[in-house]
Symmetry: C2
Subunit: 337 residues, 2 copies
DNA sequence: AATATAGCTGTAAGCGGTTACAGTAAATTA
DNA sequence: TAATTTACTGTAACCGCTTACAGCTATATT
């Protein structure tokens, strides 16, 4: 591959001039610029990013750590991130950490050694330990899809409120026995979606004067099978819920099928509500009533915020809560009794 | 951040020795190694990748171009790729090209300037133009999920055979009027999944002595809505198919719902068969009978092949066809007549 | 006409590593 | 004991770029 020296030689100028041309410096005469451009064209020259990165201490790369790209939710967020990065000429380095601390820290270390300009971090659980790593290494980071009490920029939704609204909606349909399928609860007390959503669920019941039954609170792993099994258990025995709120669409799909496999129907016997509003939530039968998270926006806004930070631009608000909304489809109906 | 000079100074050795320690060179005494390691530890030193890349002309990065990561199929492939890259200490740079030539070439150019060691390329359509770009720039590339007549390494499945098998399966259930919802057909004559699958479909009908009706052949865009609309059209009018084969699960889901919305039921009135076997294909009702593509393996095998190429290792076969299989679930049943 | 200025250009010193090559001290060999 | 080999180690050139600084014209100013 042609280097800057080759171009300089062919154009009959110094490498400084070539460099200036490719950096749009005004300190180049039009004549020199043309000569350089012509020579570069002829040689098929483009500046080498690694060399440039080394000289400028800037890689134009953003590290992206997500739990698992094969989960449609994260995939959508990532798409939002990549789209805006592309606009601003940033590249992204994708890492799947499976929510494992060890992998997360390993990736952070790796990204640091690669001099990424910043990191967009998406985990199910942002701990003090995370906070300190980013802080100590002075890494520019924004959290996507997650909020935290720590002083870290983030773009997320109000999970408490979202769950609260969902349950309220169910109550407004006349449901009195409402179950929830939530995600893993870390024993630590940090902010985490599952916890917030569970709290929102409970608060909504309390505010509506409804009792909270332990039997109606099940933990699962955010997967289809997990949702299915949790719902199955909830549905057996005599007292069963009339509505189930699963905190991810995929688990909700599992729940719907559990309803069917229990010999009941959805939404006639049991209403099921999801969370996320992934693409496929309109494709199920019944289509899924769910809490919509603006996944693409979460990614896009997070990326834009990080890029602004990298440019040293002023930012109004480092902690952004995007709006959720209830998307009514066919998996919930009024309670018969 | 600490540099190699800092470490050398603190350890009381030359930077060459430090470098050797971090490259596991045998040319270092145990004593020196310990001193260096201790100093590095103390300073929190890790070699800078950009500097190393420049010196060694190797970035340990693989470029990854896919149409759209938010599509579960590609997300799964990418997951496979990332997992094996991670094992071999490669990072991936993710690019979404939306199957647009212009974006693809733009990304290829960008990846080249970034000195990626190789590219894994996933597009719906691999043209001569693509071939030449990779060839001329001497870029190490492997195609994932796609076959081609060009002399380029790839990992894919036999699309013709897969569609052929699918239709045969439907025929074996007694279906005689079988529709297909295929993907976009480029007017060029290159190898492309949609074309191969369509050919497989036709050949299977021919081999079974069944007529080919134009009305039963619909084009869509690989999206839910596209599948829905195509099926809707196919189902209106008097003569309708008894089975529909959609060449992606997502379109099949659209088709299933179109069946319902046409006042018919699936699989009782109309059988629907999909393609891919994405995670959620077991979550629909009825769950989807489909042709399973080993998506994760396609990604993993492609990545492993590329890395072998980068290491200059011998490779038995540069063009690998992975096995598909028919996954029988509940969306297809014997034809009533 | 002498001087100041503007506008451009090139030289050279980095950026943080790798590695060829030469050098040195200790261990082997003759 | 001298010569050779072995086992390290350091110097310096290089990877391809950016940029501070100095220098050089041509023009403007007085």
């Amino acid at each position: 591959m042609a280097t800057i020296d080759d171009v300089a030689k062919l154009a009959g100028v110094s490498i400084a001039t070539v460099s200036r041309v490719f950096n749009n410096s005004p300190l180049v005469s039009e004549k020199a610029r043309q000569k350089v451009l012509k020579a570069a064209e002829e040689l098929g020259y483009k500046p080498s990013m690694p060399a440039r990165s080394l000289a400028m201490k800037k890689t134009n790369t953003i590290g992206l750590i997500v739990p698992d790209i094969s989960n449609p939710y994260y995939a959508e967020v990532v798409r939002g991130i990549e789209d805006v990065c592309n606009i601003y000429k940033y590249n992204i380095t994708l890492c799947n950490a499976d929510n494992k601390r060890e992998k997360e820290f390993q990736y952070i270390e790796m990204l640091k050694n690669r001099w990424v300009d910043g990191i967009i971090f998406h985990c199910d659980y942002f701990s003090k330990e995370h906070y300190e790593v980013f802080k100590n290494d002075n890494i520019k980071v924004v959290l996507a899809g997650r909020t935290t009490k720590f002083d870290v920029p983030y773009v997320g939704i109000d999970n408490f409120k979202a769950a609260y609204d969902a349950v309220n909606y169910l109550v407004s349909l006349g449901h009195k026995r409402i179950g929830i399928i939530h995600g893993p609860l870390d024993d630590m007390k940090e902010t985490i979606d599952s916890v917030d959503r569970l709290k929102g669920y409970k608060q909504a019941l309390i505010d509506n004067g409804l009792p909270i039954y332990d039997k109606f609170i099940k933990e699962a792993n955010f997967k289809y099978k997990g949702g299915y099994n949790a719902a199955m258990e909830m549905l057996k025995g005599e007292m069963r819920p009339t509505a189930i709120f699963a905190i991810s669409d995929i688990m909700a799909m599992g729940a719907i099928n559990a309803v069917f496999d229990s010999g009941l129907s959805c939404p006639e016997d049991i209403s099921v509500m999801g969370f996320d509003n992934i693409d496929l939530s309109e494709a199920t039968r019944p289509s899924l009533t769910t809490v919509s998270q603006p996944m693409y926006e979460i990614g896009a806004v997070a990326a834009r915020m990080l890029i602004k930070m990298l440019n040293g631009e002023e930012i109004d608000d480092y902690q952004i809560i995007l709006k959720h909304k209830i998307v009514v489809r066919n998996s919930c109906m009024s309670s018969k009794k």
